[in-house]
Amino acid sequence: MTKQQVLDLYFLDARHKLIEIAAFLDRAERATGKEDFRLKNFRSALARLDGKKKNRAKNVLLAFSDQTTKPIAKAAGKGAVGAYSKTK
């Protein structure tokens, strides 16, 4: 596809998602109480969109990933939350 075709097909959708992210950050900032590791992960992932870096989708996924290599002793539950913290 040409750049024009990509923009014609995906610009409005991407614009909409970007505004949703901005509104989410505003909402989280307005809210009371303490934030947790998820928002820290989120900000770290956002930083990977900046500039001319390639493979942005991969780098965002890596920002949210557990990068350790050894299996854990026991699964405490079944679910995943979408962000990683050593101390969660």
Partner: protein, 266 residues
């Protein structure tokens, strides 16, 4: 356009979904064994589930002209209890003889624990002993990267396993390359939020090529879309992919992998 749905949990779907899939061009649906949304209380629960997959679900599918195939295993979410897993794995050989069984799956990891890893090794051993294809579930979200690496290590360390007879499912941008580099197949799951969107799945195809890769809906009891594959085919068409290239991804590729099982006949 004809397509194969290589990963769908039809026991969780309505008969209407079978009809819609058939109308959209689906010719065969393949159903890996998975977590029911709750833990089964005994091996007898798995016995009944394996009976459902091998005897009853093919009859539901046949009413709409669809072939139904399945994979058998204990899933990783119920693998923390190793004794239960051993008892369930002991049930599987009697079902492997069923004519719609394609292999062992979806085995894998969920939270990347030692017990999950032990049960994964046991089921890889089962697949090797019975010369079965393997379908692997990789963990969700933050656990996927680490889990995929651990799974690939287990498979590469077992010299009986032929990589081209293994599909690693639910790959995303950060895991697809390591899977393909091992000579294994990669599956992309099309979910509204937690895995690949149609646009991202096509980005992956355009970046990494269309060899040894398929896409599936993995529709189940959660947020998912049984028509995700034909909808992604439509998106490929919008992006200018030719009909032949689309058919390769949604029909020929799954057919080429699955026909390594003598039971896969269209």
């Amino acid at each position: 356009m004809r397509y194969i749905e290589p990963h769908a949990h039809m026991v969780s779907r309505t008969t209407d979904d079978y009809e819609r899939m058939a109308l959209a061009g689906c010719e065969a649906v393949c159903e890996p064994a998975f977590w029911a949304g709750f833990d089964r209380s005994s091996p007898a629960g798995f016995f009944d589930y394996f009976s459902q997959l091998t005897e009853h679900e093919p009859k539901r599918a046949a009413k709409f002209g669809l072939k139904h195939f399945c994979w058998l295993c204990i899933n990783s979410k119920e693998a923390e209890d190793v004794k239960l897993a051993e008892e369930v794995i002991a049930l599987i050989p009697q079902f492997i003889k069923s004519k719609n069984v394609l292999g062992i799956g979806e085995i894998g990891l969920n939270k990347n624990s030692r017990n999950e890893l032990r049960v994964l090794e046991m089921q890889v051993d089962l697949a090797a002993k019975y010369n079965q294809l393997i379908l692997v579930h990789t963990p969700h979200l933050e656990d996927k990267l680490k889990g995929t690496r651990l799974i690939l290590d287990v498979l590469k360390n077992d010299k009986r396993i032929q990589p081209e007879r293994v599909i690693i499912d639910h790959v995303e941008e950060h895991t697809v390359e390591m899977v393909l580099d091992c000579g294994m197949w990669a599956g992309m799951t099309l979910y509204p939020e937690t895995k690949c969107t149609p646009a991202r799945a096509i980005d992956i195809l355009e970046t990494y090529g269309s060899e040894k890769i398929w896409m599936n809906s993995a529709c189940d009891w959660g947020m998912s879309d049984p028509l995700a594959v034909p909808k992604t085919a439509l998106e490929m068409k919008k992006r200018g992919h030719l009909a032949k290239a689309i058919e390769k991804i949604i029909f020929q590729n799954p057919k080429n992998f699955l026909r390594q099982s003598p039971n896969f006949k269209l």
